[in-house]
């Protein structure tokens, strides 16, 4: 039993619904108690979908247990097949149905339905949403393609000279982070390389589209949380190579182009494919203030790793924490964290993440909807970079995270919550002006500046573990002359310094000694 306040991922069957809702002409029959239909609103409210996901729920109640739940399964299957006429009917249990063991998959296979059935095992008590999406996508692709598989060991025929190179984009789903726009951006990028996109799946694909997957030369594993399993099966079974670079950020997009070119045997000049404004914006002197900003990154595995690289190499931030809620991606994130000299935080416990943010006092948080709440509470600027996300992270505008336009979007989105460079400079210049209002937040953020201000004053309110440390009146006054947005850090550093020095009172000199001590 695990005590959970907020959960990063839903149960695995929500992953199955995500795959179904992303596709055309499939239907999911979910054996589930009354109430599990709440999942519909994730799609209609968060993603603003104009239709219910293609799911029929049995919605059994106590009175049905022991007698008629299996009949409800058969009834729902027949109704769904009749009403929606899908190309494929998927069948799964939600957590409660798993316990009553009606085996809806077996029932469906024996029911003589006028539609092919794919049975899913969702392992509700050990697995979570992303795993459920990955498993569903894999079972669907395998179920539809295994009959086409060439005999094991056969050589994959090379592409004929007159055929344009093509790839599949695998992994994007509904309720994924900016999947809609990333698909457009990466298709655009590939087109400019002379590479066709054969199939995009699950997003927008029908089962018939899935059957065309082997026609492409390679698979782009665009959202490994969902497509890893499928890509490796396609590699094993059809000898299709997998392109693994996630094209997020300027450098990774160039690496992606290089990898695609190398896998497809194309001769491509990376500089000719496209360009982003990120490199120049980051070199522009206005961005100097971004240097060494301490950033905490927490997300799903692929977004966490990609964001850390952009943060350090392309924004000039210092990555002070890196982690993921996704245990399936823990290995990748641990390896990445090592490169930054960090120990990765692998947890799906929201409170542990909050404690780490509190301890690290970063100047910015790049996270999920959960970290947005943590950061808001602690008064730290934050940008959302990954699921779980809320309705405001499904914007009306074109806002990809991947490709060259994605790099532009990342620069803007991450800089926006911070105090702008020139503004920071002016605040320094005018901090002694009697008209200077210390409580002014970032001018473009309205009330959100409220949070930034309160950090400044409360961040180090109580020195850790030693409540006897006292600020002398003059020192406290001096501290107030430091602009509010760095005051919390100054207070914390000074207190840490004083503790290390064994001091009990902080004088003005202690403040400046500490400043000198930490100024490297």
């Amino acid at each position: 039993m695990e005590l959970t306040l907020w959960t990063y991922e839903g149960p695995p069957h929500v992953g199955a619904i995500r795959v179904a809702a992303s596709m055309r002409d499939v239907h999911l029959m979910l054996h589930s108690p009354q109430g599990d239909t709440y999942a519909d609103l994730l799609f209609t409210m968060i993603e603003r979908d104009g239709k219910r996901p293609p799911v029929t729920y049995t919605t059994f109640q106590a009175r049905d247990l022991g007698s008629s739940t299996a009949e409800m399964v058969l009834h729902s299957l027949r109704e769904a097949a009749e009403r929606f006429k899908p190309q494929v009917l998927m069948v799964a249990d939600s957590c409660t149905a798993e316990l009553i063991q009606d085996q809806p998959g077996a029932l469906a296979l024996g029911a003589n339905l006028p539609v092919p059935v794919i049975s899913l095992e969702m392992a509700a008590y050990t697995r979570k949403e992303n795993w459920g999406a990955a498993e569903t996508f894999y079972q669907l692709v395998r179920g539809l393609l295994s009959r086409q598989a060439p005999p094991p060991g056969s050589e994959r025929p090379s592409r004929a000279a007159d055929v344009r190179p093509s790839v599949n984009l695998l992994g994007p789903t509904k309720l994924g982070f900016r999947c809609r726009d990333d698909v457009v951006e990466i298709e655009r990028l590939l087109t400019s390389m002379g590479v066709d996109v054969n199939v995009v799946a699950p997003l927008g694909a029908s089962p018939r589209d899935l059957q065309l997957i082997p026609k492409a030369d390679a698979n782009v594993n665009l959202c490994p949380e969902v497509s890893d399993l499928t890509c490796s099966w396609l590699a094993r079974t059809f000898g299709m190579p997998t392109i693994t670079t996630i094209p997020m950020g300027w450098g990774a997009t160039r690496d992606f182009i290089t990898e695609v070119a190398s896998v497809l045997g194309l001769d491509i000049d990376v500089d000719a494919v496209g360009e982003s404004r990120l490199p120049w914006y980051s070199r522009s002197i206005d961005s100097t203030y971004l240097t060494g900003k301490r950033v905490f990154v927490f997300a799903d595995g692929s977004h966490a790793v990609a964001a850390a690289r952009v943060a350090r190499d392309e924004m000039g931030f210092e990555v002070v924490g890196l982690g993921t809620y996704s245990r399936e991606r823990a290995r990748d994130v641990r390896a990445a964290a090592k490169e930054y000299g960090l120990e990765a935080l692998i947890t799906d416990n929201y409170l542990e993440v909050e404690a780490r943010v509190q301890e690290l006092q970063p100047e910015m948080v790049l996270g999920t909807q959960m970290e947005r709440h943590i950061a808001k509470r602690l008064g730290i600027p934050c940008a959302v970079i990954s699921t779980p996300a809320h309705v405001q992270d499904y914007p009306a505008r074109y806002s990809p995270q991947m490709g060259f336009e994605g790099a532009n979007v990342l620069f803007d989105t991450w800089v926006h919550p911070l105090i702008m460079g020139l503004e920071e400079h002016l605040l320094h210049m005018f901090r002694d002006d009697f008209e200077f209002n210390d409580s002014v937040g970032p001018s473009h953020l309205g009330s959100e500046g409220e949070g930034a201000r309160s950090t400044g004053q409360s961040a180090g309110g109580q020195p850790d573990g030693d409540k006897t440390l006292v600020w002398a009146f003059d020192a406290e006054k001096e501290l107030k002359k430091i602009p509010f947005f760095v005051r919390g850090k100054a207070r914390r550093n000074t207190e840490r310094f004083a503790e290390e020095q064994g001091l009990s009172t902080i004088e003005v000199d202690t403040l400046y000694d500490a400043k000198a001590h930490f100024s490297n």
Binding site: T37, Y38, M45, Q61
Partner: protein
């Protein structure tokens, strides 16, 4: 011992009433925790369930409202499902953890879920054992909010019913009034002022703001429902000697007036005084309603089943806002608390209890009402087909009861129609 104080109105809806069985697009009772934990400020709700339960509550709440809310889920894992003894030890550990974390909690509800009920985890016994361990620190009890036992608002009924046995006995010869069902603090304050003016004392709101606010109950207790989803609790109170006052629910000017009149008449408050006291708020409510009525009059409304508020809301909309009601879908129709409403509905209104989602949606599409009141999972789907909707969970979350909320309540229904007139983008047809 009596049960229901006779109502002067006809007791049953004479119109068409059918039952439907099939796919139900409704929340489970766990969803009630969202407003119960806001109402009872020192209570904590620990769901014993699956990741689905945790995900449901945070999704239905829409956003994460608090950094650390007063509800949580003890998520069962494969290991817990292997052996029952283990489950109780695990619960013991989780509750210990929780109690040491949360100082201000005086009441802990263990809330049963679909998986905990299917594996027959006895939370009542668990609560009793835990109570011994945490005596003098926190009161612990259990109720079911599972989807197999409860639909959406029935979670509140189960929660309240589970505490009825704890209510102290009302001394003989004494009288009190229990207002049953969660209302917001502001509504409670308004109602208290009116009860004071009417000279009706010893009024308790149940649930109250604190878990320890438990009203006494006995032969001198009168109960009036402020919400329609309290039928089982009402029966439990009747079993302890209370009389249930039959009235329409306090929605709108007329509903609120009849509600207060019903109480006043039981207390023998002179007619003239009642009229004098209610006149001002009643007229104010009518004034607040008028502009919205102009917008709503003559329109057709269709209710899909959700919160059990459908019948009272349909009565309010037809009687006070001039709408025609094309169908009232309700998840569960409890005649006991609905008597005061039914007689005021048009005789030919069709009431459908239960649900079969796809045929129900087909009826909406066929009749194309001006407004469909439905759950959040369905609203955008209908909007995209050109139908205006009001998502119904707001009717449970917002303060809508009483004279001074009558205008707000009408505005909730009028807003989608006003929006339709304002917007010059896209097509609504």
């Amino acid at each position: 011992m009596s049960s229901v104080i006779a109502s002067s109105v006809e007791e049953h809806h004479p119109g068409p009433q059918t039952q439907e069985r099939g796919q139900r697009a409704v929340f489970c009772g766990l969803t009630s925790i969202i407003w119960l934990h806001r109402r009872i400020q020192d209570a904590f709700f620990l769901v014993v369930g699956s990741r689905t339960c945790a995900h449901l509550i945070q999704s239905a709440a829409g956003v994460m409202i608090f950094a650390e809310p007063r509800f949580a889920t003890a998520i069962l894992s494969e290991r817990d499902l292997a052996g029952m003894a283990d489950c109780h030890e695990e619960l013991d550990r989780v509750v210990g953890e929780l109690i040491s974390r949360r100082g201000g909690i005086n009441r802990l509800f263990l809330v049963g879920s679909c998986p905990s009920e299917v594996i027959k985890l006895d939370l009542e016994t668990a609560a009793a054992k835990l109570q011994v361990k945490h005596e003098n620190r926190v009161r612990i009890s259990a109720f079911s909010g599972s989807g197999i036992e409860t639909t959406f608002t029935q979670g509140e009924d189960q929660c309240l019913k589970s505490t009825v046995a704890e209510l102290p006995s009302l001394a003989s010869g004494e009288q009190n009034l229990i207002v049953l069902g969660t209302v917001s603090d502001i509504v409670e304050d308004q109602f208290r002022r009116l009860f004071d003016d009417l000279g009706i004392g010893n009024v308790s709101f149940y649930p109250g703001r604190k878990a320890g606010d438990l009203p006494a109950v006995g032969e001198g207790t009168r109960v009036i429902a402020a919400q329609p989803f309290v039928g089982e609790t009402a029966r439990a109170l009747i079993d302890r000697g209370a009389d249930l006052i039959s009235a329409p629910f306090p929605l709108g000017a007329e509903g609120s007036k009849s509600w207060f009149e019903a109480v006043a008449s039981v207390y023998d408050v002179p007619q003239e005084r009642v009229q004098q006291i209610l006149e001002l708020p009643y007229q104010r409510a009518k004034r607040a309603l008028a502009p919205h009525r102009a917008k709503l009059e003559g329109k057709r409304v269709h209710f899909l089943p959700d919160s059990q508020l459908e019948i009272p809301m349909a009565r309010f909309l037809s009687e006070e806002c001039g709408l025609e009601v094309s169908e009232i879908g309700t998840p569960f129709h409890d005649q006991l608390v609905m008597q005061g409403e039914l007689a005021r509905l048009a005789k030919d209104v069709s009431i459908v209890e239960g649900q079969d989602l796809d045929p129900a949606l087909a009826r909406v599409r066929e009749s194309r009402p001006d407004l469909t009141v439905c759950g959040m999972g369905i609203a955008n789907a209908l909007e995209s087909e050109g139908l205006r909707t009001k998502w119904s969970i707001e009717l449970v979350f917002s303060p809508v009861q009483g004279f001074d909320q009558a205008g707000d309540l009408a505005a909730l229904f009028a807003k989608p129609l006003v929006r339709q007139d304002i917007l010059e983008v896209g097509s609504w047809s």
